[in-house]
């Protein structure tokens, strides 16, 4: 019998990996979905246990050596507070969106491909979990490609509804592969310098270099990694793959991606910038934080402006996501405790908020057949619960007090002040004003005017959709009212990052 407790880190990846492969044999009907729910549910339970174990043990991290190879030879899985937290987000949102997916997938994807869909779906979650848990740089790349390839396929499955999903997916594939290749190159250069792939080892070797700040190989590695990561986390203006991909992907996929994919990209940035290169190199020796701040600020402003101009609610949310990534990146670029904590806490807050909103839009698409603003008109009369969820989520995007968004804003603004970045304070607050305008656009459409066409006959979304939607929205409210758990975890994780532990 396998000792679950001892092998927890490995099981978090192995169970969905096997589950994903097995899902291809589940045939038709409800079985693929049931299997996927089982697997993601089990995984979520494991991540919960992981978090509990970590908190109970009081140790800074839990290390697991795959196949009992010493970690400098084999692959090490390492869980500290930061990635335990991200694991929780990924697995949790993964589980909830899986629960939600049944009706939506029935509606949007041909019946004979459901087992394939769920297989790829589980593997995508596996990849994201793997990236988060591993302590090995090359392993990051491999798992990154697992998640990317599956995500390309998932997006392309939106073709049954709109053929533009195919071009969106191909576009993401090319840009995403270039990004991943840059990351691969960066890892290669790092390996040339350090001779190791273990992240902690890499960090120690780098710190031992006398001429770290001027070492050309390290600089090239840094440049490649930064650009590659920027593409993967959709940092403006390298976000060009994101809007279309989110718009045309199947509803459940949009929600999963928006909540987890870019966030894991940000997590990689944490690991590379803070863990491997170290704060001193990434943010003090190199002026990269200024470039990142500039990109993030431009992203907050321009993506929000672009979001205001959208006529499709899904693209509107997609552009808003680019803006929100701006907040996250701005936060950690400050490299001070409040800023980094804000960044981490916003990963969580934005995941639940935006995930819930995309799910709600999925319910709209399910009942009305589209997510254009014109489809939303007057819909609150027909689908009050769905529209209520969208509106509450929207308040979260603005950063209203009593929603999770406010907590993030609080940390970020405080962090910006801590670094004396008054410009960033203005940008963050101005960004929430722009968010007000695009959220208002949604709310006005939903609560104003009379529904026409299919909207006029739409019924409230089925319970199987409403429950997951409201779980996420309720979480975004709950963690706005009581932010003790998220706030403290983020603060401790931020302290860990700034302390330089990988």
């Amino acid at each position: 019998m396998i000792d679950i407790q001892a092998n927890l880190p490995a099981l978090i990846v192995v169970i969905p990996l096997l589950g994903g492969v097995l899902a291809t044999f589940t045939g038709r009907g409800i079985l693929p979905w049931a299997w996927a729910s089982l697997v993601t549910g089990a995984t979520f339970a494991l991540t919960l246990r992981m978090m509990a174990t970590l908190l109970q043990s009081g140790a800074p991290y839990i290390s697991y050596e795959l196949g009992n190879w010493p970690r400098w030879w084999g692959i090490e899985y390492r869980v500290d507070l930061l990635n335990a937290f991200i694991l929780l987000v990924v697995a949790g949102v993964g589980f909830i969106t899986t629960l939600y997916a049944r009706e939506s997938v029935n509606d949007e994807i041909a019946k004979d491909r459901h087992h394939v869909f769920y297989a790829v779906w589980i593997l995508a979650i596996t990849g994201l979990l793997g990236i988060t848990i591993t302590g090995d740089a090359f392993n990051v790349y491999v798992l990154l490609e697992i998640s990317s390839l599956t995500v390309y396929a998932l997006i392309a499955m939106g073709k049954d509804r709109d053929r533009r999903a195919l071009t969106a997916s191909l576009r993401y594939l090319i840009l995403g592969s270039v990004g991943a290749s840059f990351i691969l190159l960066g890892i290669g250069y790092l390996m040339m310098v350090t001779g190791t792939l273990n992240m902690e080892d890499m960090h120690n070797q780098l710190m031992r270099l006398a001429n770290l700040d001027t070492n050309r190989t390290v600089l090239v590695a840094f440049a490649f990694l930064l650009v590659g990561l920027s593409i993967k986390m959709a940092l403006y203006p390298l976000h060009m793959w994101l809007p279309k991909a989110y718009t045309y992907a199947p509803s459940a996929v949009s929600a999963l991606l928006a909540a987890t994919a870019t966030k894991v990209g940000v997590y990689m940035a944490f690991r590379f910038l803070f863990g491997i290169f170290g704060v001193g190199f990434s943010f003090y020796a190199m002026p990269s934080h200024l470039i990142l701040l500039a990109m993030a600020s431009l992203g907050i402003v321009f993506s929000s402006l672009a979001a205001i101009r959208q006529n499709n609610a899904k693209s509107l949310l997609a552009y808003s996501s680019v803006g929100q990534i701006g907040y996250i990146v701005a936060g950690f670029s400050l490299a001070n405790p409040d800023g980094v904590a804000g960044s981490i806490v916003h990963i969580f807050n934005h995941a639940v908020t935006k995930g819930g909103m995309f799910l709600a839009l999925g319910a709209v698409a399910y009942r009305v057949g589209g997510t254009d603003i014109s489809h939303l008109r007057g819909l609150a009369k027909r689908m009050p619960l769905t529209c209520g969820a969208l509106a509450l989520g929207g308040l979260g995007l603005i950063g209203m007090p009593l929603t999770a968004g406010f907590i993030s804003k609080w940390y970020l603004v405080k962090g910006a002040m801590g670094s004396g970045m008054w410009g960033l304070v203005v940008v963050v607050l101005f960004g929430s004003l722009l968010a007000l305008v695009y959220v208002w656009k949604l709310i006005e459409a939903m609560y104003f005017g009379e529904p026409t066409g299919r909207s006029a006959e739409a019924k409230e979304a089925p319970l199987s959709m409403l429950i997951p939607i409201w779980i996420l929205v309720a979480l975004s409210i709950y963690f706005g009212v009581d932010a003790t758990f998220t706030g403290e975890t983020a603060t401790r994780a931020a302290a860990g990052l700034l302390g330089g532990t990988p």
């Binding site: 390309y152 594939l173 290669g188």
Partner: protein, 131 residues
Amino acid sequence: MTELLGIYNYWIYVVLMMIGFYGVIAKKNLIKQAIALGLFQTGIFLFYISMAVVDGGTAPIWTTIGDGSIKALGPYDNPLPHVLILTAIVVSVSVLAVALAIIINIKWKYGTIEYDEITAMDRASGGGDDD
């Protein structure tokens, strides 16, 4: 000069990558773009393999010598990058496969695989395109 020429395989890797990059940017045929992407990634394989080279090194073969201990036959290249790149090749092939699968679907749905024509068709169908 010899210093620069001596690392010729790095030059080749850069040139290969640039050719691939150029292909992705300039080619309008989706299949050609996919191939260019493959080329780009192949450049990276060469880079990894180049960094494994040790002057005068051979294959990393260890064997039992007279006193029963296990030893290498001589200086050998670093095997780790080779192993790594084996994985990366698999990944690259998979990327190409997914790309081709999508392109086939595009051909079915759009009737063409020319980027410009597809863009024009997307624009004509309106909505979501303008951002």
